[in-house]
Amino acid sequence: MPRIIKPASGTFTTADITVDSSGRIIAASTGTAGGGNMVRTFNKAEDGTTTFTAQPGSSKIHVYLKGAGGGGGGGQGGQFGMAGGHGAFGFFNIPVSQPYSVPFTLGAGGAGGGPPNSTGQAGAASSFNTNLVANGGNGGGGTGGSNGTPGTLQNETYAFIDGNTFDDSQKKLFTFEGMAMQDDDVYSNTVFQNNVYRIGPTYLNPGDLRMRVGGTGGVGGNAPNNDYIIPGTGSNPARHGKPGYDGSLVIYEDIG
């Protein structure tokens, strides 16, 4: 009995097809799309509380969340205060059901410690939805004290900074796309020695200061450079520590 094959006319997307033993398509229908590529859809690096709403076609989001940095400690007698701790920094893989709209908070960076020798403030925690938390870094001590301990994570998929020692968190400091922004004039034009070359205890090249990273601990306060010391007075005034940076958030969704 010869088999009658009907033509399968029409347009199908992400088609499910059936092919017979002769290589002919004998059935076709519109199928279900697979997971899309991840596309960055959201970023923010300023403290406050608001709501994130996923794109309508999203079934999964990747969240990079960072707590706020602690403030640097105040200087004394021409010596630096200590650096504030970095905010905890983690990656969270989250399947979502539509519609998906959740609150999030980005912590405020800690203020710097006053001169002479005061401790900087701790950074506040960043949180996403009800259970994902990146705590802020501790404040840096005054001159002769200790650097601030970085914050810890809760419920992360992968931890970049999670209560590491300060030195370890420096090695793992991750300038992820969207986590950094152009520095502002206050920091790039500061007149005091070393501030513009320094994040934490590490001296950097001037060009590195084009970027500032959300959740980074503040630099300890220092003394003015020699050009600003009053000749013949022994002047060596202490300075405030720098504030930590606010927490930050970057989100990717599978809509590509």
């Binding site: 001169p115 506040a124 925690a125 404040g139 002047s235 405030h240 504030p243």
Partner: protein, 156 residues
């Protein structure tokens, strides 16, 4: 009733390095944690202690999970140690940095209970005629305290 607001992490004790900031009201505390109250723990202080700390009339010491405020008298301008005096350039740089910090707070925490004091301090700094000051001079903190315009950023 005002508060000292600390980080709340497992195994962490209260110390000056885990203090986030002082807050005057429950709403000010809410600004800090954004609705996730389990990220902080608080210690009650009196309104008078908060007000004095805001103006830097006292300093705060936290040791072994306890706190104390100590008087922080403002020295007469003539008594400021000469090693702490600033050139015009240094003073103006400090002024701009402090003003920028206050302006940032003003924009980001407009509902804070002490926002009126922040506005008043910004106005004072904006109108301060640095060309009329004799240099070297004391730091901007002292200048603001003398005019009763100082706002401690650890309280906002």
């Amino acid at each position: 009733m005002a508060y000292l607001v600390f980080k709340n992490e497992e195994g962490l004790t209260r110390s000056d390095q885990t203090l986030i900031r002082a807050a005057k009201t429950d709403e000010d505390v809410q600004i800090i944690h954004g609705g996730k109250s389990d990220t902080v723990n608080t210690v009650e202080i009196t309104d008078a202690e908060y007000d004095a700390y805001l103006k830097s009339d006292v300093t705060l010491t936290i040791t072994a999970d306890s706190y104390s405020f100590e008087n922080n008298p403002l020295p007469a301008e003539s008594d400021v140690n000469e090693t702490e005096l600033l050139t015009k350039e240094s003073f103006e740089a400090d002024l701009q940095e402090y003003k920028q910090a206050l302006t940032s707070v003003f924009h980001k925490r407009s509902t804070h209970s002490q926002i009126g004091k922040v506005t008043s301090a910004i106005d004072f700094l904006t109108n301060l005629d640095t060309s009329s000051i004799s240099y070297p001079t004391e730091n901007i903190d002292n200048k603001c305290r003398r005019a009763d315009k100082y706002v401690n950023l650890h309280c906002i």
